[in-house]
Point group: C2
Chain length 195, copies 2
């Protein structure tokens, strides 16, 4: 039997392919240019729905995930919404937890650390006096987000904590949520009518 | 017939209740303190699942949305993931579109503007040389996010654009994604083992 895999899959991560991908991008850096997209359609009131489908990456359009994914968002009843789905700000909490977890699992696999369990609880504090326009002293967004990880794996507590720290250092969502990014907004009113 | 509603519901927004809510928070600012939460559980590889349920707001725990919502995230095959769900960074695009749309619809209702259609397309450009650790010159997160709105409503193009601009000025997600926030990460390794 021919066995050429020297770094086996671990934590559900195909480690040989992960390293091969890094090598391929190192050789052809343009492969690293990605564009992600979403299309949102208003439903009623504060309720809207987003479709997420293909993206551009690794030099081509990518439709490998098949049918588009759909996600709703809404405000809760206490904020005069329909409560049909989480609020937009709650999806930021999903994004940070999922990004740090994916990175942590990849890094653990690359370092040969087997993980048994990874869970995280995220809390975000926000004072709505900002978005309600009732105070100029209060920002619109979260004042603070806290992520509490529980990690069970075949490594010391220090090593497991170091995996999370390395994931944080390489997290796209952490970077955007802590440092911000440029956002450009454009509006077209194709059938604008005089009020 | 007794008709006491002077500002009727519009765009699916209960405008009288919206104004009553603003009045209540103005009278008791502590009602504006909210805490949103999420709990993420690793599945396998880069695939994880987030549960979003109750939150704290308006002075109490709020479970009015019923059963928790669940959302997966994953990396696509080209990034050695399973492609079971969108990437974490794509949920940021959902969040910004949904937040700007909800605000726009509320503001339109408050200003007496009837909307017929609101759609938005979001694009986010990201160079993965950052998160792959292949360049110190490239940031981890999005270089830029663009949101293109199409708004059809009973107002002039300038008035409709002004609704989007006011929504941007009061958007929690826009604030976090452009200005960043404080994120604290904590790690517990309850059953840490020596490697």
């Amino acid at each position: 039997m021919t066995q050429t895999t020297t770094r086996p899959a671990r934590n559900g991560v195909d480690v040989p392919t992960l390293f091969a991908t890094l090598d391929a991008v190192r050789a052809t850096p343009e492969l690293a240019e990605f564009q992600f997209r979403a299309h949102n359609t208003w439903q009623s009131g504060t309720h809207s729905r987003t479709e997420i489908g293909g993206f551009y990456g690794a030099g081509q359009e990518d439709a490998s995930r098949g049918e588009p994914f759909n996600y709703d968002a809404d405000h809760p009843a206490v904020l005069v919404g329909g409560g049909n789905a989480p609020t937009p700000v709650e999806f930021l909490l999903h994004a940070i937890a999922a990004c740090l977890t994916a990175g942590l699992v990849n890094i653990a696999a690359a370092r040969g650390v087997t993980l048994h369990r990874v869970e995280s609880t995220v809390e975000g504090d926000i004072d709505l006096l900002g978005i309600l326009g009732l105070s100029d002293q209060v920002r619109n967004g979260y004042r603070q987000i806290r992520v509490a990880f529980t990690v069970d794996g075949d490594a010391s507590a220090d090593q497991l904590a170091a995996l999370v720290e390395q994931s944080r250092r390489r997290s796209a969502v952490y970077d955007v949520l802590t440092s911000g990014t440029d956002i450009v907004i454009d509006v077209t009113a194709p059938a604008a009518r005089t009020a």
